[in-house]
């Protein structure tokens, strides 16, 4: 059995309490949500926080709610809730697609939306999906709330815009008309992290793409997005050729590294295939075809 180093534990009563505890225990304390990223790192002694501040009791961080023309995800919403949500199924199929291939039911029952974003693992599927969606992250400190576009949230592998005494409290996703979305991941086995994954959000005006969001996971794409491919799609006809071209551009601009999941040329190839497929499916969904 792998065992972590010694650490202290505090159960936060509410948001204000959690923020106070984080401030009191300083930069070596960590909030713990689902624990499915943090605890393995502690057991491997890659992380040795002095104190864990447990935020699982913070009911104010729960819930998936429609809030005007946006959908709000509380930071403590579990993967499983996203997967089961009717609101998500209706408006944000990219998230349902992604959740189906994130880890396994045990991890999904505990792992959270906030934890996924804050972990900032370069392979995190939700980071790619929220980036494609152009989401906004709500960060709370004792001084109040601030919002950061998700595309500015990640500062690099395992680094985010959140300071040690702050918490992510919610993620807001805009609902756009005539828009469809999709996500696809290639993995070596169910529950494995992505070899490569892509998510697309496509808004149509008739036959023309008026806006495209393309997220990429596990291939070294800056801020998890394929900005050049998005740009190329704007105003383009929603055809297989355009989507293949977007895939080609995304493949060219991402920066995958070789590991046991595959060599660089393969990962680039996958980006091309997956971007084209997800754009195609997103457009079909925007047209109400699937």
């Amino acid at each position: 059995m792998q065992v972590p180093a010694t650490f202290g534990y505090e159960l936060a009563p509410d948001l204000a309490g959690a923020l106070a505890l984080l401030a009191r225990h300083g930069p070596d304390a960590r909030p713990i949500a689902g624990g499915h990223s943090l605890l393995p790192m502690m057991k491997l002694r890659l992380a040795e926080p002095t104190v864990l501040v447990d935020i699982n009791g913070l009911t104010e961080l729960g819930g998936i709610t429609v809030d005007g023309d946006a959908i709000r995800f509380g930071a403590m919403v579990r993967h499983a809730e996203v997967l089961d949500s009717a609101v998500v199924a209706e408006h944000l199929p990219i998230l349902r697609d992604a959740e189906r291939v994130i880890a396994d039911p045990l991890v999904r029952n505990r792992g959270t939306v906030g934890g996924s974003l804050c972990q900032a693992d370069p392979s995190e599927d939700l980071s790619a999906a929220f980036s494609a969606l152009g989401a906004t992250v709500v960060i709370t400190s004792r001084d109040g709330e601030r919002t950061v576009p998700v595309r500015e949230f990640h500062r690099g592998p395992y680094e985010t815009a959140v300071a040690h005494d702050e918490l992510v409290t919610a993620v807001r996703v805009p609902i756009r008309p005539a828009t469809g979305s999709a996500y696809e991941k290639v993995e070596r086995r169910t529950g494995d992290w992505a070899v490569a994954a892509a998510g697309a959000v496509v808004s149509l005006d008739g036959h023309t793409v008026v806006r495209a969001g393309i997220g990429l996971a596990a291939v070294g794409a800056e801020h998890f997005v394929a900005a050049e491919a998005e740009e190329a799609l704007r105003g383009a006809p929603a055809t297989a050729e355009s989507f293949a071209e977007a895939g080609r551009i995304a493949a060219e601009h991402c920066r995958p590294t070789a590991d046991q999941r595959g060599p660089v040329d393969y990962k680039r190839h996958l980006v091309g295939v997956l971007v084209a497929r997800t754009c195609h499916r997103a457009a079909a969904r925007a047209r109400g075809e699937v």
């Binding site: 059995m1 792998q2 065992v3 180093a5 010694t6 002694r45 396994d104 290639v186 070596r188 086995r189 169910t190 529950g191 494995d192 992290w193 070899v195 070789a258 590991d259 046991q260 999941r261 595959g262 060599p263 040329d265 393969y266 190839h269 996958l270 295939v273 997956l274 497929r277």
Partner: protein, 815 residues
């Protein structure tokens, strides 16, 4: 039954198995499962003794480095630490090195060098597991890094660093050369095939990468050296408790009667728990030094990185064939990567295990193989993971090679196999490499599998899909793969098979209590095979009682007779035979008592319907329960009976048993991503007589899943610094239910002529037979892309790279 399920019934046989206990053979729920499903198993890590301390191993982060200094002072100063043991300390006791099961030596704790990443360097004993782990960080080891030997194909290069410079005069990494078969005769057939227009030579380079058995329960031990009695009790994860006891006695100089090895419930072995690991020895030394029991249980990464791996065979296979598809000869050269210490577990005379069975199921004129073993800076072990002593490698080689032949000749692989399979009238069959196959009807078994799979329809569907793809439709690449395997299990005849001089026989003792309930004690050990059920059924069938009335005791050397244990699918062939024979001995004793009871002549009795009957006298019969009570009563006992029915036996198998099987796998490959989906798997096994068909099928299910794992995702690769790239379950992937189709099983039954009940082993059959079926299916799917071979594991990246004509080397880091 809930309303929604009305009308849905499980198969009749399962219902019966759940309700009735068969008198002897037949489907029956496993007796041991009652405790497992209630969480009442007792594994090594469940053992808690008063005053028990906890051990942890410090491991090398480097693959190859000289040890300059080890400073343990800070660890020793930790308030909860009771002892810190180093290689130097062990050297003082003469225990820093230990013999391996292959006449080599292996470091217990490193003294001079570390030779693989994860090698044991020091051992800490502390009050609790947490403190022991904390103290590891307080040990300061100064290393001087050395160039590692990682690529096995470079291990014999002139300038390769020498891994084993501890051995006097050693200047290379060469361990052994071993060959089998008639080289001259084989070369002659190949020369002809090369020269003639209507024959050819087909060659393929085939890697069976390093994989790991990865049992869910990792290895561990609780050592309790009683300072008063001097008796060592060792609870440990071992598949061979008796062999371990004898080895501890020989190596550590402890008197053998003062050692008790207990292998309690074991959560999977697959060969991983055959050897003796440094951690066990350290736990024993820790207990001796502290006078308290010491528990050591490794974690997942330690298990994957340091304990017995399997395979790692780089093979070149050649087949001499006629243009119309007759296999004439097979020639193989193998480079075997044994890691840093030659610690494979196998019969002494077989350094490449039973690889000599590589001629498989085919009628060849000649065959020859040559195997060269080398040292590298990788974990030692080998011959683990349900491999039947390297038959996994042998079957993979020949079944892959036959498919390459089919590809090159443009023949259907089923037809090619059917043409060349041994015929039933050739049994018993002596193979060109000297193995005597006991029985089988191979063409029949293959035909049953082809029919069950609907082979011709599958080929038609495949052709249709290929046409549609060519016409531009977005349909998957369909592949159909076959494998026909011959296994050789149940090692083995004492005259030719031993491990470190211990003959590979197994013992059984059977006691019948006065009320007719029986206790069987066997030398083999179950790691999930269901021995407590199967062996009870064997006894029950021989004595005419219920399996519920037979208790099977195993895994405790103080309570069971000597024998070599469970691996290589040997339990039923060897211990099962011992069980049947010991039960027959009991029955013969019972005959004498029954004769006395009925005042008849023993010769006038016949065993019929579960009791001894006086021939021709209706109603004159006695059951075992009646006889057992009489044997312990005041009945006047005739000569030859002492007042009980108990018996013992040691079974020395006259030959191995040779199970076989025909497997058909159907896959789809996504041409865009290279991802493989296994659609169907048909497995027709012939393991002779099936004692408990349900358990047999369970064993096959597990082995088929193993095969999908190895074929598609499992491998331990190393980067050029010797870092292990498969050291966790995030990196070393084992299949889940979602990667497995609903298995379609079938059977043929050809009893073994020399086994007392006609049974053959089955534990490893599916692990041996399934990898080539899956790989052959994937390669078949890729045929339109000109792919002829690609190495396991066929991950999406490996498949795609093969389609690009740039197959991956799966033993090294992907670059």
């Amino acid at each position: 039954m809930s309303a929604g399920l009305e009308g849905v019934r499980p198969p009749e046989e399962w219902i019966r198995a759940a309700v009735d206990t068969p008198r002897g053979y037949g489907a029956m729920k496993r007796k041991e499962d009652a405790r497992f499903v209630r969480g009442r198993g007792n594994y090594v890590d469940d053992v808690v003794l008063p005053g028990m301390l906890h051990g942890a191993v410090l491991r090398s982060p480097l693959a190859h480095a000289r040890i300059v200094a080890v400073d343990t002072s800070a660890a020793e100063a930790h308030p909860k630490v009771r002892a810190v043991i180093t290689g130097e300390a062990l050297a003082g006791l003469g225990l820093s090195w230990m013999p391996t099961l292959s006449q080599d030596t292996e470091a217990v704790l490193a003294t001079d060098k570390v030779r693989f990443q994860g090698q044991e360097v020091a051992f800490v004993v502390a009050d609790d597991h947490y403190a022991a782990r904390d103290a590891l960080d307080l040990i300061d080891v100064e290393y001087e890094p050395l160039d590692p030997v990682v690529d096995a194909t470079r291990a014999l290069d002139e300038d390769a660093p020498v891994v084993r410079d501890d051995q006097d005069g050693r200047t290379t990494n060469h361990i052994f050369d071993w060959s089998s078969g008639d080289r001259a005769a084989t070369d002659a057939v190949f020369a002809q095939a090369q020269a003639r227009d209507d024959e050819r030579v087909v060659t393929a380079d085939i890697l069976y990468p390093r994989v790991h058995p990865a049992p869910l329960e990792t290895c561990g031990a609780v050592a309790d050296m009683d300072p008063v009695t001097g008796k060592l009790t060792l609870w440990t994860t071992t598949q061979a408790p008796h062999a371990h006891r004898t080895l501890y006695a020989m190596v550590a100089g402890l008197p053998e009667h003062k050692i008790r090895v207990v292998s309690p419930d074991i959560g999977g072995g697959f060969g991983n728990k055959v050897g003796i690991y440094p951690g066990y020895v350290c736990a024993i030394v820790g207990s001796i030094l502290t006078g308290a029991p010491v528990k050591w249980v490794e974690d997942r990464s330690e298990n994957l990185m340091s304990t017995s791996f399997a395979r790692d065979y780089h093979m070149r296979g050649e087949a001499a064939v006629t243009a119309d598809g007759r296999l004439r000869a097979v020639r193989v050269h193998v480079l075997a990567d044994h890691g840093a210490f030659n610690a494979t577990a196998q019969p002494t005379a077989f350094p490449a295990g039973f690889f000599g069975v590589f001629t498989g199921s085919y009628d060849l004129e000649a065959a020859h193989c040559a195997v060269t073993g080398v040292y590298t800076n990788k974990a030692p072990g080998g011959v683990a993971y349900a491999c039947s002593f390297r038959i996994t490698e042998a079957v993979y080689l020949v079944e892959r090679l036959v498919d390459v032949v089919a590809h090159d000749l443009g023949m259907d692989p089923a037809e090619l196999r059917m043409r060349n399979l041994l015929r039933s009238d050739q049994f018993p069959y002596r193979s060109p490499t000297g193995w005597e196959y006991d029985s089988g009807d191979y063409p029949h078994t293959l035909q049953v599998a082809l029919d069950k799979a609907g082979y011709d329809d599958l080929r038609r569907e495949q052709a249709d899909l290929r046409r549609r793809r060519e016409a531009g439709e977005d349909v998957p690449l369909r592949g159909i793969g076959l494998a026909f395997f011959t296994e050789a299990v149940g090692a083995g005849p004492r005259r030719s098979m031993d491990i470190l001089g211990l003959g590979m026989a197994d013992g059984a003792e059977l006691r019948v209590h006065p009320t007719g309930k029986a206790v069987l004690r066997v030398s083999c050990q179950s790691q999930g095979q269901g021995h407590e059920t199967t062996f009870a059924q064997l006894v029950a069938a021989e004595l005419g009682i219920s399996p519920d009335d037979v208790d099977v005791v195993h895994g405790d050397t103080d309570q069971t007779p000597f024998g070599l244990g469970t691996y290589g699918s040997r339990s039923t062939p060897v211990s099962g035979a011992a069980t049947a024979i010991v039960a027959r001995k009991v029955r013969e004793r019972a005959r004498i008592v029954a004769a006395a009871m009925m005042e008849a002549n023993p010769e006038d009795l016949e065993w019929s319907d579960g009791s001894w009957q006086v021939k021709g006298v209706a109603g004159a019969s006695r059951t075992i329960a009646e006889i057992a009570l009489a044997a312990h009563s005041n009945l006047e006992l005739p000569d030859g009976v002492e007042g009980h029915l108990d018996a013992t036996c040691v079974y020395n198998p006259p030959n191995l048993t040779y199970p076989c099987g025909a497997y058909v796998c159907v896959v789809d490959v996504d041409p865009g991503t290279g991802a493989v989906t296994v659609r169907r798997f048909v497995a027709v096994d012939d393991c002779g007589v099936r004692i408990n068909p349900m358990i047999v099928e369970g064993q096959i299910h597990g082995g088929l899943a193993d095969g999908i794992g190895m074929a598609l995702m499992e491998a331990i690769a190393f980067d050029l610094d010797g870092n292990c790239l498969g050291g966790s379950f995030m990196d070393y992937l084992v299949p889940t239910a979602l990667e497995c189709p609903s298995w379609e099983l079938g059977e043929t039954v050809t009893p073994s002529p020399h086994h007392p009940v006609g049974a053959k082993g089955v534990g490893e059959s599916a692990t041996v037979g399934s990898p080539p079926a899956v790989v052959n299916a994937v390669i078949d799917a890729l045929a339109p892309h000109g792919v002829r071979h690609a190495d396991m594991p066929l991950t999406p990246a490996a498949v795609w790279s093969a389609m690009q004509g740039r197959p991956l080397r799966t033993d090294l880091a992907i670059r």
